[in-house]
Amino acid sequence: MTTQSNQQVLERYRVLDVGHVLAGPMTSSMLGDFGADVIHIESPETGDFMRTVAGTAGQPRASRGYDLINRSKRNITLDLRKEKARDIFHRLVAVSDVVTENFRPYVMDRWGHDWERLRRINPRLIYCRMAGFGQTGPYRHRRAYGMIGEAFSGWSWTNGYTDGPVIHSGFSLGDTTESIWAATAIVAALYWRDAQGGGEGMLIDQGLIDPNFRAMEQQIIIYDQTGVSIARDGSQHEATPYADICQTKDGRYFSFSAFTQEAIRNLVQALGLSDDSRFNNLDACLQHREEFNQTAATWFGERSLDEVIEVFEKQGANGMPVMSAENLYHDPHIKAREMVVSLPDPEGGDKPIEMQGVVPKLSETPGKVGNASHPIGGHNEEVYGELLGINRDELADLMAEGVI
């Protein structure tokens, strides 16, 4: 069997996304970028909470962050709490490869969608469950959102100014890192099922608090071996004096760091400190950490961002401006890498909707952003007709009963 070039890796595979808010829906959007038929199931009564989050109400379309999280999908409604919906959901499971959900563990179980039930319906199903604290353990019924994932995992303890309080990021770090871990796990489980002789699906238990805990590799072993709990240190880094964020003359910020001997050489050269024995080698610089921080801050304060970039580029030193959404949107490199794409508004608005492009670039099977997010239930007729043979009259009845 040979495939056509430009085929998508996950074309013809179906993902039922009963996720809400961020972690679950972001996971399935990644699979959608690589060709999967992702069907986002929302409550007909309320829709996905993310459509109407605080701070975005009153805009012409509800939540603009929602577009990125829910791109490359079809949208249907189904009230999973209703008796009649259970059967419909199970019929959809029978013709799907993957189910993703990010409720607390008992929620899907209570609605009749526990693992044992779903695997009987479809033994090839991959069921990715993304509860905040996972499916097991004493905290499994606790809720978790992005900042709880930051707090519990040990991440936020290391984020903030030296000697200051813990600071959370303004980004939903817990949810989004969970989504890349979950998408990776789903692809891995598909690989085992279809290429490694597995033949059957499996249950994936991916907690929201787990990825940052796992990825902060140093925290457990350093405590175990030395008794030290690593802590926050502003934008500096415990492992090297050669890392900080400094303000430039024109009010921008520049982040630099050096973790190898070569990188240190390039950095001190860029800062004009090659001949300064207080700073030009690691041991000495550790002794003069404060002085180095001040010297670096002064150096940046005397130069515009463009001047800084020019010097760093010339010396091959590691560093980059802190970019805002505005900076990124107008950046020539972001444009050249097609990291902003423009899509028609599925709700018929005149203005195209812009968002991030596909990551990464696959040479043989490049992904594609299928579409911006559709209105709630926008594919009810298409999906229920095509997959379950439900006709318009039946749909009208289901809608009248509040099932869809």
Binding site: T136, A151, Y329, P332, Q356, V359
Partner: protein
């Protein structure tokens, strides 16, 4: 039907050229946790001494014990003619090469895609680079921390009107590493389940983190306003998502942004009947009073008391744990998230367990990260049939 493989990536061989200090080493570690034969190649004589005393014990880089776990470590100088030859023989017998050596470095040594694919048309060649393989900045340099800045992350991390901060985790590097693992999974799937061939994966270090930040592009293009950092006071200072210090100097975070979690947050802190906070719009008007009440309430209680109150009402909340808290936490222990590995350098060491949990193919932490070249005899013997004498000669010539 062939026998199912015991682990997901059993039989998949990965040549891992990702530098030891990069967060993206997690790509190989993830694949190795779930059964891949990951061969980490270090240059002979490298790495040099590790950088900071916090991370080192008896000259051992502690973090690398986790980053390099389950990988077989060999040395090879990919730039020397004999090294080129040996590397090409390894490539012929592998599934994946993953590298972050810098733009054009592999090409300069004779390991360009055309050469490698002619040796092995089924090869998946993952190219992690600072800014990607093309575009105007392709020759600039950054690492994980500058990656956080370029991805738009630092801009939203820190106090309002103050310098941005960054955590002690190389966010961009780790997210890129996981994204690389997913991409390898996709490329393997296309090759082995859909009749495809090998391919190149091109990814800039900051691109995955940039892709994840939902406030980056769409909200800016629709409102004209770029998101900013605001410490723990999100979205114009809403007080129902926040973090406060406890009586015993710990920090506790809670998130009451939905109707249900807002109610539970109020119940936990005993403010349910307070008319100033009866619903979200009213609480927003009285947000400073809410903030002061919550800060004072938390400050009067120990972390255990605060957590107990939130736990009783199933609030969305958690203590800001540090390593000491986590290593003793009953939930993390019950989840087997702390495992002990016997290491020849350090003896028994504790580190993170497996994430996530696969019901059918659980994976295993088999060993901790090794010194460079630990498995030279084993790997070169098994894969290329090299004898002890040949290895001695290669060692003498600084090839391995």
């Amino acid at each position: 039907m062939p026998q199912p493989k015991q682990q997901i990536f059993e039989g998949v061989r990965v040549l891992d050229l990702v530098s030891r200090e990069s967060g993206a080493t997690i790509a190989g570690a993830y694949l190795a946790d779930f059964g891949a034969d990951v061969i980490k190649i270090d240059k002979p004589g490298e790495p040099g001494p590790a950088l900071d005393a916090h991370y080192v014990k008896n000259g051992i880089d502690l973090q690398y014990k986790v980053k390099g776990r389950n990988k077989r470590h060999i040395t090879l100088d990919l730039s020397k003619p004999q090294g080129v030859d040996l590397f090409h023989k390894l490539v012929a017998d592998s599934d994946v090469v993953v590298e972050n050596l810098g733009l054009g470095v592999m090409e300069g040594w004779g390991h360009d895609w055309e050469t490698l694919r002619s040796l092995n048309p089924r090869l998946i060649f993952v190219r992690l680079s600072d800014y990607g393989q093309d575009g105007p900045y392709k020759n600039r340099r950054l690492d994980g921390f500058a990656g956080d800045a370029f991805a738009g992350f630092c801009q939203v991390d820190g106090e309002r009107d103050a310098t941005p901060v960054d955590s002690q985790m190389d966010m961009a590097g780790h997210v890129a590493g996981m994204w690389a693992a997913m991409s390898i999974g996709l490329a393997l799937y296309w090759r082995d389940a859909r009749g495809g061939v090998g391919q190149v994966v091109d990814m800039a270090l900051y691109e995955p983190l940039y892709r994840l930040i939902q406030t980056n592009i769409t909200p800016y293009t629709s409102s004209g306003k770029a998101d900013m950092r605001y410490g723990n006071r999100r979205d114009n200072g809403i007080p129902w998502v926040d973090s406060h210090e406890t009586k015993d100097g710990r920090h506790y975070s809670y998130s009451g942004a939905t109707r249900a979690t807002y109610r539970d947050t109020q119940l936990a802190m005993g403010m349910f009947r307070d008319p100033r906070f009866k619903d979200l719009p009213t609480a927003f008007v009285n947000r400073e009073a809410f903030h002061d009440y919550a800060a004072a309430w938390t400050k009067e209680r120990t972390i255990e008391e605060v957590d107990e109150a939130f736990f009783a009402f199933e609030g969305a909340s958690a203590p800001c744990n540090n390593a000491e808290d986590l290593i003793n936490d009953p939930h993390e222990l019950a989840r087997e998230h702390i495992v002990t590995v016997d290491d020849p350098d350090l003896g028994p060491v504790r580190m993170q367990g497996l994430v996530p949990k696969f019901s059918r193919t659980p994976g295993k932490v088999r060993w901790a990260g090794e010194q460079p070249g630990t498995r030279n005899a084993e790997v070169y013997g098994e894969l290329l049939g090299l004898t002890a004498k040949e290895l001695d000669e290669l060692r003498a010539a600084d090839v391995i």
